[in-house]
Each structure stands twice: as structure tokens, then as C-alpha cells.
Symmetry: C2
Subunit: 192 residues, 2 copies
């Protein structure tokens, strides 16, 4: 699925326009550029202004698993900043990307001093936990076809932007299996 967070984006955009608060920087990234690397320190918190990025985890056996696709308003780097750990995943631009960035210490200050921001972050976290729970449950107990139908239903234009391999990595299957399922589904539709 492609995660967004309109409330947070609106809030951060407003803050970015505010003369007196100048800790957000607007940066640009090109496709395939890396914003956060798994196992490395994280120095900033990021909020997407526009574009699509992938959030993925590289396993010890060499496979990549895509946690989510991120788009407008989605925040990342906040987890590592809050619990002061190294990054547990990688973030990479898929399309051209505009991103608001704020340094870790400024993020902490904002979190403590601005109750509206604090609330937005709490809600963002609550949503992250919830959708991760639902997605994991769904993934474990449904076939590739079910997962694919759901994905195409919720985000029909996905295949335009994203490679087959990324879709496979998002579903947690091989590209071969994804292809097989797609062609089986094609046959089904031909019969209708």
C-alpha cells in the first residue's frame, strides 16, 4: 500500500512557511537515491512533500522485503531519532522526491514544545502500528492472488510506477511466482 499523512504534511508545510521557525529544509532526491541506509546512523527526520519512496529491509539471506511505499506526508527517521538506535531499514526514492528534513535535536525540541506536533506524531505512530499489524496478518493468511487483487484495488496505478521486482518484494514472493499469478489471473478474466 502507499502510505500518506495529509494532516502531518499540512502542519509541516505551514511550519516551513513560518519565518520564526526555520529548522525544516526542503530537499530533492532523484529515483534510486538513498535517504536512509539500514544499519547506519540517522541524523534527520524526513517528511515527504511529494513523490514515492520505498521502505525496505534487507534480510540476512539476501532477500529484500518492502515494508511500505511512502508518499505525501509520510514520516520516517523518527523512530531511530526517538529511540536512538541505528536504522533498521532503508529508504530509497522511486520517483523524484521532495522532502522536508529536520535535524534530530530540533525534532526532539519540537516534539516537547509543540503539543499539536506531539499529537500528530502520536497519531502517526498509532497508524503505523495498526496498518503493520493488519498487513502482516493479511499477508500470512492469504494467497498471492488475494494479496495482488487487494493491492491493485487500493492502488490501481501502482504497476505504472513500480517495477515487478518491487511488487514481488512487497508481497514477499519471488518475481516468478508473481508472474505466474498474474498470468493465471489473466486466464480467469478471459473466461468472463
Amino acid at each position: 500500500m502507499v502510505r500518506i499523512n495529509k494532516d502531518l504534511l499540512a502542519f509541516v508545510s505551514r511550519l516551513y512557511e513560518t519565518e520564526s521557525f526555520n529548522h525544516f529544509f526542503l530537499e530533492n532526491y532523484s529515483p534510486k537515491q538513498s535517504l536512509i541506509k539500514q544499519g547506519k546512523k540517522v541524523f534527520s527526520v524526513f517528511i515527504i512533500k511529494s513523490g514515492i519512496a520505498k521502505c525496505y529491509l534487507s534480510e540476512d539471506n539476501g532477500k529484500d522485503f518492502i515494508q511500505e511505499f511512502f508518499s505525501d506526508g509520510e514520516i520516517f527517521g523518527e523512530i531511530e531519532t526517538i529511540n536512538e538506535h541505528l536504522s533498521f531499514c532503508s529508504i530509497e526514492a522511486i520517483t523524484d522526491l521532495q522532502v522536508f528534513e529536520i535535524k534530530g535535536d530540533k525534532f526532539h525540541k519540537l516534539l516537547r514544545s509543540n503539543s499539536k506536533f506531539n499529537e500528530l506524531i502520536l497519531k502517526a505512530f498509532a497508524n503505523k502500528v495498526k496498518y503493520k499489524a493488519i498487513r502482516h496478518g493479511y499477508n500470512q493468511s492469504h494467497t498471492i492472488e488475494d494479496k495482488l487483487l487487494r493491492l491493485m484495488n487500493e492502488f490501481p496505478e501502482l504497476l505504472q510506477h513500480i517495477s515487478k521486482q518491487d511488487i514481488a518484494n512487497y508481497l514477499g514472493v519471488t518475481a516468478r511466482s508473481l508472474n505466474r499469478t498474474l498470468s493465471d489471473m489473466g486466464k480467469k478474466f478471459d473466461l468472463m
Copy 2:
């Protein structure tokens, strides 16, 4: 895995002892009792004082998927309270359970008025997102045997407390597959 949160438990225990703050209640539950039901309203936030509970999600196809086992200091009901949604999972006692409970509105107040508590909740969230991400990635890209070895490694006494079916539901496989893997592993060890 069995999730715990010592810092949060220490904080809540101290607050519970405090005369001037009397919004935490200590409740007891017996095995198989339900604390939160999927799809229902959530009125309180819960923090475990002792015992083990399971957090699971019932899928549309009748299968249950266990998100986590919860123990000392783990919090739940906070997500639904913060984003004011119905519960997306169920919580059920496995062993005898002692639980601190606080009503939703009091939880909100505490979150706004007590910065230490606010920070503990933020960290709890950060950890939840992180371990969910890692677990989902691991689950998708490893065999049953790998998952089982990891589980027995991190929590060897688990099989004493928890039924085979629950283990299978936690790993996202059928009881039959779990059994097969267990007996295959037994054969392996016999050769060594």
C-alpha cells in the same frame, strides 16, 4: 516473541502507588478471558503487571494470526484510544494476568500533562513499529524451521506455556506444518 517494557512498568507502578493520582486500577484476569475484542470499542488502556497474554487478529477466512505475546509492562488499547478507532485485534489472557487499567480520557490527560509519560509512550510506539517491521520481514523470507529455531532460541520456555496451535498461529502456518517441521528437526538432531 514475548514483548516486555520494564521502563513503562516501573513508571506506572510508581504512579499507582501515588496517593494523589488514583486513575490506575489493578485488575485480574484468568486464562482464556478476553480483555479487548476485535471490532469493538476500547474504553481503557492496559499495562500488564504480570502474566502472559496473546494479541491476535482474526482474518476474514477464519484464520487467527497472533501478532505478539505480551508480558510485563507491555501496553495495549493505547492505539485505539489515541486514534479513536474500534479495536483491530483481540487480546486474551494465556496465564493468570494482573493488569493496570486507566480510562481513555484519563490516559489522554496524562499523556498531555506528564512529559515523562509522553516520552515513554513515544518510545513504546517506536519499539512496536520497529519490532513489527523486523518480524514481518523475517517471517516473509524464512522457512518454518528458521522461524521456529529463532523462537525457541529467544524464549525456550514458550512451549511450556503456550499451545501448539498458538505457536502455529504465531508463525502463520498450520499446526500440521508445525508438527512436520518439529519432527524433521528431531531427526536432524538424532544424526548429531
